[in-house]
Symmetry: C2
Subunit: 206 residues, 2 copies
DNA sequence: ACGTATCTTGACCATTGGGTCAAGATACCA
DNA sequence: TGGTATCTTGACCCAATGGTCAAGATACGT
């Protein structure tokens, strides 16, 4: 193994470790509320070491957000691969529910960023996300025009899907408490996912 | 006016002023991230004065949450006053949308509290809110039994309503950016409210 | 007008927290 | 094995922040 490779390996491993810890702490405490010392402790390294890999807390935060965006957008293409509205919506809602299950902290960091006024995501929202959304809106309009689904406000529909699926990540704690203090089992979560799919499909008349 | 009354008047006025400022700052920065100095500046008073009315930041935070709970629960009885599912759901969704419009900061403080693990609301969620929810669940089950709506998972439905309506408060900034950078007009928001109502009604087969 | 309770506020204190630094430890190649 | 680049870490610095205090200012009943 070359020096280069070795170095890169150590760096990548430590960066990944720190990013994961940071995502959790930022999710729980918010940007301002998160202490780099807490993040370092969560990662099991000294604070100075964290600052060796990420010069500033802000840079670290930005990279955490970028990570989340990558994974968030990964669920995006699903909207295109199938063609019947029912298949597309089912796949998309299922993928979003899966994301909420797998990456609850990521979803919360996103939510907090928006609630803080989206100082960092502002640009992304206005360009990439807006373009992506408008494309899906166009697809939905086509479905309506072809009378494949009942006439709905496409934006209202998309927001309902986002809100509902992300709710299972962002409000996980509330859901757990309302569920008698115990978390959903794998199986129960899959059933719930199907229920959400059915609600969404019915909302557009499918 | 008696001394007592006068004193109380000054105190109440200042407390209200501080609580409003605090709700905004907590909504934007989170509990840990919010500085009492910022809250004081937002309220237009010196920090020492704020601490005269609220001994600690934590006490202030708790009172802000209590305020929000009061208003949140105010929308709750609507679920009972009318009897046909369609009327009940329409009124409830409309009330929640109205709350998101009028008190966006309150909704965000709530969301942040839950995402932090609900350290303060924990008790409320497990008792009052759980009881309230289970009562509504029972009502929904009755509707299903009477075949007034199609069979849905009552919890999944309630969470969809909460998530979707609160989305308009918590993600206001994102919605604005996706709307081309301009906020919804009163009229547009009312239209959107009706769209949300229709989506919800359709989701249960109405 | 006087006395008392409340309110106001600048100055101050102790702790926390982001970020730096320099002295080692480690890894790898020649 | 020696040299160099990277990595690790305790100690340290300074600005920000929650909270205190004591000296006034204000309000109001008598």
């Amino acid at each position: 193994m070359s020096t280069q490779t070795r170095k890169i390996k150590i760096r990548k491993a430590n960066e990944a470790l720190i990013l994961e810890a940071a995502e959790k702490i930022f999710a729980i405490s918010g940007y301002k509320g998160a202490a780099t010392g807490d993040i370092a402790r969560e990662a099991g390294i000294p604070k100075a070491n964290l600052h060796y890999y990420f010069k500033t807390k802000f840079r670290l935060y930005r990279e955490v957000l970028e990570h989340i965006l990558d994974d968030w957008m990964a669920a995006a293409p699903i909207f295109d691969t199938r063609h019947e509205p029912e298949d597309v919506l089912r796949s998309y809602v299922t993928a979003k529910m899966e994301f909420s299950r797998q990456r609850p902290y990521g979803s919360r960091v996103w939510a907090r960023e928006i609630m803080s006024g989206a100082p960092v995501l502002d640009d992304f929202l206005g360009t990439t996300l807006k373009a992506w959304l408008e494309e899906r809106v166009r697809i939905i309009r086509r479905w309506i025009h072809e009378e494949k689904i009942r006439p709905v406000d496409p934006h209202a529909l998309m927001y309902m899907i986002w809100a509902t699926t992300q709710h299972y990540a962002d409000f996980e704690q509330q859901i757990m408490i309302l569920n008698g203090g115990k978390a959903f089992s794998e199986r129960r979560y899959r059933q719930r996912t199907n229920e959400v799919v059915r609600l969404v499909l019915n909302s557009v008349g499918l």
